[in-house]
């Protein structure tokens, strides 16, 4: 599904990613944790080329990127959910969801609307299709954002700290949607601080620090018995 080799990313002099290698198979739920500044968000953003890697190779679904055309092709197959939702404020919920399928996949409006309504009921917001984003709570907005990404029928979903901007009481509803998605067999890479989610839903846990993958493996094993000193230090602070 994804094959990353020797990925490096620098912003000017500052090297954020110092060589990342990872393979993700279909139906895996890879959860990435680590202190802020460890490069986990940057890594996620490199996968769909929101950040251009400085060095290394990323192959997504057999497509190796070498130009703008492939970038758009990969992005159409990779859904992304952002920390700050990034819904389009001038469009209704339904319009938010059908825009990309209509413009990128060139599907007819009726079909897109039908899919959008199915997705909205899947994330529990069937009655909100005519609402504008500002009329929704943060948790509802994030669920719409997930539905919007799913409308492209992606093969892989990236989550960039999807619950970090939410009020505590709204985190659960978003995590529930993500759990359901994982159960349905979606391949997911999730950057998060929600350790409970990592332990319960993740099929693999990656701990990143200082631009490297420090430790990876079965989430439960790492939480109970971390091998690396840095992982131990981090987990003792967050658990």
């Amino acid at each position: 599904m994804i094959n990353v080799k020797g990925l490096k990313k620098s912003f000017g002099e500052l090297e954020i990613l110092k060589g990342i290698d990872i393979r993700v198979k279909p139906r895996e739920v890879v959860v990435i944790i680590g202190p802020s500044g460890s490069g986990k968000s940057t890594f996620l953003r490199c996968i769909n080329y929101l950040e251009e890697p400085t060095e290394g190779e990323i192959i997504v679904d057999g497509i190796k990127i070498s130009g703008e055309a492939e970038i758009n092709k990969v992005r159409a197959e990779v859904g992304m959910v952002f920390q700050r939702f990034n819904l389009f404020p001038h469009m209704t919920v339904l319009e938010n969801i059908i825009l990309a399928p209509m413009k990128v996949r060139k599907l007819p409006r009726e079909e897109c609307e039908k899919t959008a309504r199915e997705l909205l009921s899947r994330v529990g917001l069937a009655d909100k299709e005519s609402a504008y984003p500002e009329q929704l709570s943060g948790g509802q907005q994030q669920r719409v954002a997930i539905a919007r990404a799913l409308a492209m029928n992606p093969k892989l979903m990236l989550f960039d700290e999807p619950t970090s901007a939410l009020d505590p009481e709204l985190v659960g509803e978003v995590l529930d949607v993500m759990k359901e998605l994982a159960k349905s067999g979606m391949t997911m890479i999730v950057v998060t601080h929600e350790m409970g989610f990592a332990r319960e839903v993740g099929t693999r846990l990656i701990f990143m620090d200082g631009g490297y993958i420090v430790e990876e493996g079965n989430p439960k094993e790492i939480f109970e018995n971390p091998k690396e000193e840095r992982t131990k230090a981090f987990l003792s602070k967050v658990l």
Partner: protein
């Protein structure tokens, strides 16, 4: 000093037809200006260097030289090259519109840059191209935000359109000049002309305030 209200009364119909022409030039020019300005504004932030450069040259030239000189160039200098006279109406709209486009371009650029960059990322992450994201997501939001400065530009252009009187085009200011040439009523006529301009600009600013209020509803962030 004499002040003749009769002169004002008899001149008003003529001045009002001149005002209608002023509105006509202004509306057509601002339409042209918005059209050019939208493309130039987007071009100013394009990732293609040559496009960015061309837009910067256009903006710098038309903001950096007087509108009056630009009108002279279009009306008097261009025919020297082409060998063909230009209709004053065309010259007036071209001059005002192209000039206004440079200011509108900067307004749009600022408006576009004020939109959260997460919007572009969201559009791109869904597989839309840069241009699609601009067209469907960024520009429509930017447009609502630039209504107030665009209104100011509209008002400035309405006043600047008096400059086309120098190529003999009969808008409000030129009408005033012609009446004064006949009647010597400089005081009465220039005051009337000023009041008519004032009524027009005040009307526009009210209109803009109304639009701003109406369109802001969906853009609370």
């Amino acid at each position: 000093m004499t002040f003749s209200f009769d002169l004002i009364a008899t001149s008003i119909p003529l001045l009002l037809t001149g005002a209608a022409v002023t509105i006509e030039i202004t509306v057509l020019s601002i339409a042209l200006g918005i059209f050019i300005g939208l493309f130039a504004g987007v071009a100013r932030i394009s990732s293609v260097k040559i496009v960015r450069f061309a837009a910067a040259v256009y903006v710098d030239f038309f903001r950096g030289t007087p509108l009056l000189v630009q009108i002279f160039i279009i009306y008097f200098a261009l025919p020297v090259i082409t060998g063909q006279r230009i209709d004053p109406f065309i010259a007036a709209i071209a001059g005002c519109g192209i000039n206004s486009g440079a200011y509108v371009a900067e307004i749009f650029r600022a408006g576009i840059e004020s939109i959260d960059k997460g919007q572009m990322e969201a559009g791109r992450s869904l597989g839309m191209t840069w241009l699609q994201t601009m067209g469907y997501i960024i520009v429509p939001q930017a447009f609502r935000r630039v209504i107030p400065p665009l209104g100011n530009e509209f008002i400035a252009l309405l006043k600047d359109s008096s400059l086309v009187s120098v190529i003999g085009f009969e808008e409000l200011t030129r009408r005033g000049q012609l009446i004064i040439a006949r009647t010597y009523g400089a005081l009465e006529i220039w005051l009337s002309v000023a009041v008519i301009y004032l009524i027009m600009t005040l009307t526009i600013s009210r209109l803009v305030a109304y639009l701003e209020k109406r369109w802001r509803i969906n853009d609370k962030r």
